[in-house]
């Protein structure tokens, strides 16, 4: 079904004078009909490029040059685009592949493009929505869905076109536990229906579900093997090997995140009382939150999608203002102090680093916050941050051209250089490979050593388990608050997404 013979791929140089970036080198692969293959690799290893080539999108729409042979069901993909009913690609960021204004129209669009008869379209739309459990939201706008629903909708839209091959680029990436379960069930159903599947992933558990596993590292694709053999301690994807090349970071190797300075409960870094908030024209999100976070404490905030976690922490640096209730930062009411002024006391790490970076170079990106806050020793802070996050090599490059892992490192460096006494992290582990995760954890350990207050919103239970205190939110209320062992032990099933 899929035949790769000595495929090499290189992207054009990012700036004048640079050489092309070689991503894939002499990759060969042979997959039969109904086979399922998982490709593991670190962030930036070329997994997405491989997916784009298989789907006939690269180099046609991405630029770059490909050599070698790629055939899908006998069709030479590099010579002419494959039919959309030959191969479907689930994008890593599935939200970006949805472009219509309702769920059912999203599924119908590709069928219209194929010229399918309207009655048959109705049948296939109904079947796809039922199969991916989307019937209840068929008239909703795609962008108003949860992350898990968006991935399922993208899958439904692909599946409706009846492709013989489905390529899934990190299908579980960026999802909360509920979303992961939903998408996993959908993928499993596709596999059982006999679709040829190629999945990329950074999780061993996900890869184990495939019939064969291969590793993509330094541009080379290993020979696919059954999971048992591949993950064997002597296999090409042993835990030690995957850790060594930065694909995974086993929890056993995580640094200790215990406080070296005892948190000071008498002086809360952040304190909110009677906090209520609702977005305009929407239902109430926070229904009376009382919370005091001790200086130097590491607090993890957990809870299902829509519980109000992000809404809550956005009050801590004034991105949102309470409709009723009060917010104090280091004992002082924030009043109408702008977020930009509070940045000196409270740092915030946002999701999606690629959306925040704008400067012409990494150095200028890090300098932005330092200049804005008028901090002393700017050049020392800058140099220290560049060195700390291994950004020396790319310090002069535009951050927008870096890989996801490096972009994440730049956002950490920006925050580290400013060095605020309190730091809020919104889903800091999403999309990180083993190397990125290790870097984040090592930095958190350093922050603990100097007594920084850390507040992390996370679905990553291993991270939450290492906090001093865990607060569980559900439907805008605190439903549990205590040591990780108390809050995380009784495994409360997450509420279904609305």
């Amino acid at each position: 079904m899929i035949n790769l013979d000595r495929l090499s791929f290189a992207y054009p140089p990012t700036h004048a004078g640079a050489s092309p970036t070689s991503v894939l080198r002499d990759c060969s692969l042979r997959l039969g009909e109904g086979d399922s293959l998982a490709v593991m690799g670190a962030s930036g290893a070329g997994k997405s490029t491989l997916c784009h080539v298989l789907a006939g999108l690269a180099p046609r729409h991405t630029g770059g040059t490909a050599e070698g042979v790629v055939t899908l069901g006998g069709h030479n993909v590099l010579a002419s685009p494959p039919d959309v009913d030959a191969v479907g690609l689930l994008f890593q960021d599935a939200a970006t592949q949805l472009f219509t204004t309702s769920v059912e129209d999203e599924v119908a669009w590709g069928l219209e493009a194929l010229g399918v008869d309207p009655l048959e379209i109705t049948r296939r739309v109904d079947a796809a929505l039922a199969g991916f459990d989307l019937t209840g939201v068929r008239t909703r706008a795609p962008w108003a869905l949860s992350g898990g629903q968006q991935k399922r909708l993208a899958l439904a839209a692909l599946w409706a076109m009846r492709p013989s091959v489905l390529v899934l680029d990190e299908p579980l990436g960026g999802l909360d536990p509920q979303g992961k379960r939903e998408v996993l069930a959908a993928v499993e159903a596709l596999r059982q229906a006999g679709t040829t599947l190629v999945t990329t992933t950074m999780q061993i558990a996900t890869a184990r579900r495939a019939g064969q596993v291969a590793l993509l590292a330094e541009g080379r694709l290993s020979h696919p093997q059954a999971p048992a053999a591949a993950f064997d301690t002597a296999g090409p994807l042993s835990v030690a090997r995957l850790t060594g090349i930065g694909v995974i970071a086993p929890t056993a190797l995580w640094p200790d995140l215990k406080p070296t300075i005892a948190p000071d409960g008498a002086r809360p870094a952040i304190e909110v009382t009677g906090l209520q908030y609702g977005y305009p024209g929407d239902e109430v999100v926070l229904r009376g939150i009382d919370l005091a976070i001790a200086t130097g404490q590491f607090l993890a905030i957990v809870g299902p999608n829509g519980a109000g976690k992000s809404t809550l922490v956005r009050h801590f640096n004034g991105l949102l203002r309470p409709q009723s209730g009060r917010v104090r930062v280091q004992g002082e009411l924030i009043g109408d102090r702008p977020t930009g002024a509070l940045a000196r006391e409270v740092g915030f790490l946002f999701q999606r680093p690629e959306q925040q970076l704008f400067a012409p170079s990494v150095r200028e990106e890090i300098e932005f916050g330092l200049t804005r806050l008028g901090l002393p020793d700017r050049s020392e802070r800058l140099d220290r941050a560049v060195a700390r996050f291994d950004l020396g090599e790319v310090a002069g490059a535009p951050p927008a051209t870096l890989s996801y892992g490096d972009q994440r490192a730049v956002t950490l460096a920006c925050l580290a250089a400013m060095g605020p006494p309190t730091i809020i992290l919104d889903e800091p582990t999403v999309g990180l490979d083993g190397r990125g995760l290790s870097q984040l954890l090592a930095w958190l350990a350093e922050l603990r050593a100097v007594g920084t207050t850390i507040i992390a919103v996370t679905h990553h239970m291993d991270l939450a388990a290492r906090a001093d205190r865990v607060v569980a939110l559900d439907r805008g209320r605190i439903v549990a608050d205590g040591a990780p062992s108390e809050v995380l032990s009784h495994d409360t099933p997450p509420r279904g997404t609305p």
């Binding site: 669009w109 108003a144 991105l319 932005f368």
Partner: protein
């Protein structure tokens, strides 16, 4: 996510069920009518009828209130400034060359109501018609498919760009960005945000290219249309009814030019 441009409010009312082409025709006639209608009372009457129609079609009062708030500044400006440009009738106050008159105020009030009518009549179409139906309606009235697709993609991505702007602004505020000072300084301060939004928008465009290609935009087979629009008896009755009604009103206005004075 903000959905400023997604104005559709799902429902099962008569207006919701009508063919978009019938509604576009009715909208054009009613817009023309508001231009022809003389005077305050007639405009107020139309506005009242449109409000009743919208509420009866299941459009929440809160949505109408929001539209009024969005229009408020514009309408207020017209109400305050217009009287000085069209003085007529009894003089109330004279401030140098500025003369506030009864006629001027009446004229401004009528203009305000007319502007509100234009907005509410247009929104009657947008509130009760889903975007795919609207795009298909426009296409069936002669717009080529790529134009329809462009309208549809614009409606889809404008809010996304607005959303991106908010995210970037928040991220930069968290790194110490504050807009302060005069207008020019504020604009310069906004440049980093605009740069990030531009980069993000370009990335979105790249992704959209891939998404469209992956879904078969380049397919050489002729496109089919899933939801073929069909004018039903109800649609035709609606078209005839609105046309006759508006025509009758226009004739009435033409025959009695001074029914409502102070136009």
């Amino acid at each position: 996510m903000t959905t400023v441009f997604d104005t559709y409010i799902p429902g099962r009312s008569l207006l919701h069920r009508l063919d978009p082409r019938a509604k576009i025709w009715a909208m054009l006639l009613c817009l023309a009518l508001t231009f022809l209608l003389p005077g305050l009372t007639a405009q107020a009457l139309v506005l009242m009828v449109v409000h009743i129609l919208l509420l009866r079609s299941g459009i929440p009062g809160a949505v109408l209130g929001r539209l009024w708030r969005q229009l408020a500044v514009l309408l207020l400006l017209v109400l305050i400034l217009q009287p000085f440009f069209t003085p007529s009738g009894r003089l109330l106050v004279a401030l140098g060359p500025l003369r506030l008159t009864v006629g001027g105020i009446a004229h401004a009030a009528a203009l305000v109501l007319r502007a509100a009518n234009l907005a509410f009549i247009t929104c009657t179409l947008l509130f009760t018609t889903s975007q795919p139906a609207l795009v298909q309606g426009l296409m069936r009235l002669g717009l080529p498919y790529t134009w329809g697709l462009t309208v549809s993609l614009a409606l889809r991505f404008l809010p996304a760009i607005g959303d991106l702007f908010n995210k970037v602004r928040d991220a930069q505020a968290a790194r110490g960005w504050v807009a302060e000072g005069n207008l020019i300084k504020r604009f310069r301060e906004t440049i980093p945000i605009l740069v990030a939004v531009l980069i993000g928008t370009l990335r979105m465009t790249d992704q959209l290219t891939l998404a469209l290609a992956a879904r078969g935009i380049e397919s050489t087979r002729p496109r089919s249309t899933w939801r073929e629009l069909r004018m039903t008896g109800q649609d035709w009755w609606f078209v005839v009814g609105v046309t006759v009604g508006v025509a009758a009103l226009v004739v009435a206005i033409a025959l009695s030019p001074s029914v409502i004075p102070n136009g």
